[in-house]
Structure formats: C-alpha cells, structure tokens
Amino acid sequence: MEEVVAAMAEEEVVAAVDVEAVVAAVNLAKDRVGLGWRGELAAGIFTNLDQIDILEVIADDYFHMDKRNISALRRMSSYVPVTLHGVAMGLASTIPTEKFRIEKMARLVEAIQPESWSEHLAFVRAGGIQIGHLAAPPRSPQSVAGAIANINTATRIVGSAPILENIATLIDPPASTLDEAQWVTEIIQGSDTTLLLDLHNLYANCMNFGKDPAVELLRFPLNRVQAVHLSGGKWVREPEEHQPPKMRLLDDHLHDVPPEVFDLLALLGRHAHQSITVVIERDGHFPNFEVITEQLSAARKALQRGRQLAIPYQECA
C-alpha cells in the first residue's frame, strides 16, 4: 500500500511538474517582445520584423496626421500587430479629462484598429497650465477616484479600456497618503483594467526614494499585468544647495535597458502566469540597430528565465 501511495504521490508530483511546464511553455509561446515605433528606427524595424512581435505607436503623433499617413499606419498594422500609446490624456487627476482629448484617441482607434491602446497614470495639466510632461499627482483616495472616473469615461468613449502605465517621477509627489503600489493597485482594481508595468519607471522610483525594486514589484497587481515597458535612463545630481547632493535616476529613454531592469522582468515572469507583451522604448541617442535587437533578445531571455522558475499558482494566491 505504501508503495502504491508513494507511486501515486510521485505521479502527482510528475503531473504537477508537467502542468507547470506546459503552463510555462504556453505562456512563453504567447509572450511577445516588440519595440516602440520611432521614425529614426524605421529602416531597422522594417528589416528585422522577424524579431519584432509588436510595434507600439505614440498615438498623439497621429492625432492630426492627414489621411495618407493614417492610411500608412493602418497598412503597417496589417503587417505587424500595433498598439497605440497615448501620452497626454492626463487620466490620473481629480480634474475630469476633456472629452475632445479622448475623442481624438477614439477616432484614431477607429481608423487604425490596433489590438489595444494605453495611457499613463499621470496628470499633465491643471487650471489651463500645461506641464508638458507626465507628472505624478498626489497619491490619495481622491486621485484614485478621479482616475477611475476618467478611465471609465475614456473606456466608454473609445469603446475599449486603456492599459494603464505607472510613471517615473523625480519628485516624491506631495500630499500623498498612499504609496505607489497601493495607489496603482487601487486604480487598476477600481477601474477593472490592466496594467502596463514600466519596469524602468518602477526601478527609477525605487532608486530615487530608497526602496527595494524587487520587493516593490511584488506589491503591484501582477495578475493584471498585460504589458511591460523597458527603457534606460541616466543618473542626475540633485541641486548643489541640497547637501550632500545625491543622485537620482532620470527615465530619459535615451540609454540601453540596464541589467537590473532585465532582472525585474525575469522576476515578473516568475510570478505572473498570464502571457505578457514587452515593449522596449527608445526615444533618442539611437544606437546601431544591432544593439536594439540584442536588447530584444535579452528581454526574451529574461522572461524565459523567469518562466522557467515560475511559482506554482497556489503559492501565488
């Protein structure tokens, strides 16, 4: 009897391992790695489409494009999956997002028929003042409620929900009563949306405000991660009047993805069981495209490394 039980137990273990292996293999098959579309990278992108599973296009660049360019983008989306990425809607705010900004995205989504669209958890304007970039609002129940209301409005007008991205910040947002992981989780869960987890943004914020990125990563709603951004940045010194001046990490998209961020991707792959789309962002200081393809390959390997060490479901609960 003991031998039978032992044999059954062994079979169950083998079966469990097999299931895990299958789940990991299936996820690996569905995981995708792509690149942010930039005109400067066009030649490299077109000649390396076999290594690029998806292109992310900055939506705002096309809001005022003529029909010829919209048609070209539509044509490109028939050759390679395209996702649209918005940068100026300002969804994470106690101030309602103006409908005409959402309607621009709705029209572009209608014209291009991308597989998805995304926006940032940021505020970009207030009281008629344009900040000019993504700013972190005070992380509070009020901004959570404002963000959820704006996301619901955007979802209704566009016809599909945005994937929402965490942003990098050089300033610890004042008047915050929630930390970043709590704030993002409440918005994602409250709006029933998915997360575009920018791992360099997460890494930069942790470096700037004294947190362990691996610990913080595991506090995000990893079961809601649909996509990932990878990018690089540079260290900048605090103004001299702050003694001793420390260094902070600026997410500038002008540098290669650092090894620490690939390690976070592996950790994510280990703890998240759903398939994930990874996009590398590069906005300038463009290297030889071989460097880009090496980064794409490194992303695949990091995710694969994580999948091979995947935590079984019951341990993730």
């Binding site: 360019n69 070209a72 028939s78 999956p81 700013a135």
Partner: protein, 91 residues
C-alpha cells in the same frame, strides 16, 4: 488629500520659474496665498524640494524638445513602409 486646486498649484510650481523660486525661499507666504486646504498647505511646506527642482527642470527640457521636434519625421519614415512590401502581413 488631493484636489483640483492642489493640482493647479503643482502645475504652476512645475512651470513658473519665478513662482518656484519664491516658493523655495518662502513656502509659508506662497502657500498662504494659494487656495489650499490646511492639510494641503502643510504637505506643500514639507515638499521634496530637490525633487521639485529636478522635476521642473525635466519638464522644461521636455517642453523645449517638443518645440524643436521635426513633426515631419514620422510621416517621412512611415511613408517608407508604403513601398516596402517584402514582409507578408502578420495576423
């Protein structure tokens, strides 16, 4: 604690260099003139000053880069795709 008034005050601090310098020199005076709750005033007086200066500089650089950005580059290179038909469509 967060309100449209606080977001507007932050947006002004991020974009108005004169106001920002006045705030750094005398946060009590500047916040007392703003329409903020007592909790928001207290939070602003404890703001991460180095971060404020660095974030404002970063936003200013972004605004400057947008002004200098050649808008035609996207259409120029996207146009290339119209004549590149060597790759089959992906589903």
């Amino acid at each position: 604690m967060s309100s449209p008034q606080l977001e507007e005050f932050l947006a002004r601090l991020y974009t108005d260099e004169v106001l920002r310098e006045q705030f750094i020199r005398n946060p009590e005076l500047i916040t007392s003139e703003a329409i903020l709750s007592p909790e928001e005033v207290s939070a602003m007086r404890n703001i991460d000053l180095a971060g404020l200066q660095m974030a404002a500089a970063s936003y200013a650089n972004k605004r400057a880069s947008y002004r200098c950005r050649p808008q035609s580059i996207f259409s120029k290179f996207l146009g290339l795709f119209q004549i590149n038909r060597s790759h089959p469509p992906k589903n």
